[in-house]
Symmetry: C2
Subunit: 430 residues, 2 copies
């Protein structure tokens, strides 16, 4: 864990290093992925089956081995422990309610010149959702990706998920049932992304692909950007906690560890104006780690990427937070509003002392798929808009064309595009 103070002479330099640090794996997977994608494009199912056998040890020779039936999802849901089922249902209901309000409104109006203008939103026909296998298969993540797609009106929502040695996570199936997923295919890795983008004999192509995955999955999505729509490239998760000295150290320590336990490359940062509180939290993190089942991961993350920054006043925090543009920002003070008003770059902000980030991961309602690695400077969390697109439209009558047409003709001629000009002139009888 690194300790910084804005009072130190070397602070700006150390802070800039922190801002620029890349925690993302630099594994050179681009070449492997491009070969896999080309193979899937050329050979379709045959390539997918070979790669699935090789990487997942799952045999796709007969038709039944390709898919998980929707009835199996329903059975998995029914078999869930009732408390867990209720928790999933509450999460789904709250996520749905929040995302329903994101649905964009169409526009259609006629201006003073008589030009009718508008924009019409429509969902994509089909969306693909990657769900990692094994330890990182989170039902909450399935809900967060699938529900916005269904709220958008996507008719065909396809899940791909690797089932290494045939093993399937029943929680994920239950969530898929709850979210209304339409198809589930037992494939993973870059080959699954390729199959979704290009289509194969078994799997029809989709228009948008979202969902978390390892470096191969992320690179495959990146390479296919433009062939399909994708959600933002995601890196390791991050939390920035801005806290005064009046917080319970135990609460803040748990918040920092809730990111650290995700991955050894996750990052937790505390900004506080109270050096004694900083010490107590640091100590408390040490104690808490040892009690976690996820201690090994959390400890690696905290040791390597954890940071505590002391500031003379929390007034300095927004500048630092905007430079870090973190995925999650907690403002644990009595009056978080003034600081929040000055935070411009963050994926999601958690206000006050009783809003641990983890409620946002599950049941608050807003999406937990958020920009990481300073991408909050330009990117937003996943939303209904990621599964929709806008068609603008224009309608002129003779009078309106006579009013604005000559300006268009002048510009077309200046740009050396005579047929553009001609298409207006001929209608105006020029």
């Amino acid at each position: 864990m690194q300790r910084l103070s804005t009072q130190d002479a070397g602070f700006e330099q150390a802070f800039q290093r922190l801002v620029r640090e890349r925690r993302e794996s630099d594994e050179n997977v681009a070449r492997d992925v491009s070969l896999i994608l080309a193979d899937v494009r050329n050979r379709g199912d045959e390539a997918v089956a070979e790669l699935t056998c090789r990487f997942d040890g799952h045999d796709l020779t007969d038709d039944a081995s390709w898919r998980i039936e929707l009835s199996a999802c329903r059975h998995a849901f029914d078999a869930l422990e009732p408390g867990l089922r209720a928790a999933l249902e509450l999460a789904a209901q709250r996520i749905r309610a929040y995302h329903e309000a994101q649905k964009p409104e169409d526009r259609d109006f006629t201006d003073e010149i008589g030009v009718r203008l508008g924009a019409k939103w429509s969902p994509v026909d089909a969306a693909g959702l990657y769900v990692p296998g094994g330890r990182a298969a989170y039902p909450s993540s399935l809900l967060m990706n699938a529900i916005p797609a269904k709220v958008a009106g996507v008719e065909r929502l396809v899940v791909v998920t690797p089932t290494p040695k045939g093993i399937i996570n029943p929680l994920v199936l239950g969530a898929a049932y709850l979210a209304g997923v339409d198809e589930i295919w037992r494939i993973g890795g870059a080959q699954a992304i390729g199959a979704l983008a290009y289509g194969t004999q078994h799997i029809q192509a989709v228009d948008v692909i979202t969902g978390p995955g390892n470096a191969w999955v992320a690179e495959a999505k990146r390479q296919l950007y433009g062939v399909v729509g994708i959600d933002m490239v995601a890196g390791p998760s991050e939390i920035l906690v801005i806290a005064d000295g009046k917080n319970e150290p135990e609460w803040i320590a748990a918040d920092l560890l809730s990111q650290a336990e995700h991955d050894p490359s996750s990052q937790s940062i505390l900004i506080t104006d109270d050096p004694v509180f900083a010490d107590t939290v640091a100590e408390r993190v040490g104690v808490e780690i040892s009690m976690l089942q996820t201690a090994r991961v959390a400890e690696q993350s905290w040791k390597k990427h954890g940071v505590i920054i002391e500031v003379a006043s929390l007034d300095e925090a927004p500048r630092l937070a905007n430079a870090l543009a973190a995925e999650h920002v907690e403002i644990a003070t009595d009056e978080p509003e003034a600081l929040f008003a000055r935070i411009r770059h963050a994926g999601s902000v958690f206000l006050g002392r009783h809003t641990p980030e983890a409620v946002g991961d599950y049941v608050a309602g807003p999406n937990h798929v958020l920009p990481t690695g300073r991408r909050a400077r330009f990117a937003s969390g996943l939303s209904v808009l990621d599964f929709m697109k806008r068609t603008s439209f224009i309608q002129l009558d003779e009078r309106a064309l006579a009013a604005v047409g000559p300006a268009a003709i002048a510009l077309a001629e200046a740009e050396g595009l005579p047929a553009h000009a001609r298409s207006i002139e001929t209608r105006l009888g020029i």
Copy 2:
């Protein structure tokens, strides 16, 4: 030009070929571009200057040669022929008005449980806009990219444009003045995109890069997606005209040619239910081409990529249009509304007989940067949202946390994330 009829036995096959055809240059520029980007990242200005000298024959040795002063833009604007200046002003005013209405609204509400939820939009700090040099330097394109950024509230809007052998297009400078561009740098190609994304000694990094360019520029943007935000990958432009037999053949011929004249790889398609009208338009296109200054380009495009599809009834047109998902769709009928209601995938739609696509390129108001190459299945035209991002926020009090917290704890435990659970438990005194 290819002639198809839905009545023909081989139609579906020929149509699928048309849908899948890739008109985009497959030049293998990826490797060159990645070397250029790495060079710019490592050596900054030095690399940019060397590459600019090599590719553009423009010398960047002294400081003055890097930038175009804003005063030069103002002079260029003042020196424009008055009719052209007025046309640019009308275009800018109408584009601004249309995009102002795109500004998203923030959300902030408290639900029945007492959970405060919301979303706050903010502009990116800085945006970069690529403007091609030479023939493809369109002032209209500058307006269409720059105005949404300024409407979004972007404080620093940076234009990069190559000035081969020092030559600058005064129309582009005039448009830059009108749009309120803040900086203009005389660099182009992949190296300019790299400079914008990574920053150099002269040029501070930006957060989003938009604007058209050649294959190198497009590939550089694609490779930097995630380091910065970018607009959708753009291919050759397209128009699909759906027209009954009551149109003036001359008007429709001009519309088809207005796309064909852009580039040899542009595509113009006519769908009509009137075979005689189809013949007349085909003939008329031949006549019109010869009168164009852009004849050579238009003829190549029409010969190689032009298509006329005869349908038994225009009722078949929406299905074909949705499969083609074209950048521009004209519906030239008396009552376009019924067909338009069935068009789900299109960049922009032009309704009725008096709405040639060219008015949309210049003065209608909606953006002319639109998804090409069937990307309208999942992508939208450029908008104010491309220069903004959304931060969600959540605030719970003790009572609200007690209400939803236990469900989050159950899910966190099921996902094997004990520190997530702990951050809630400790606040609830569990």
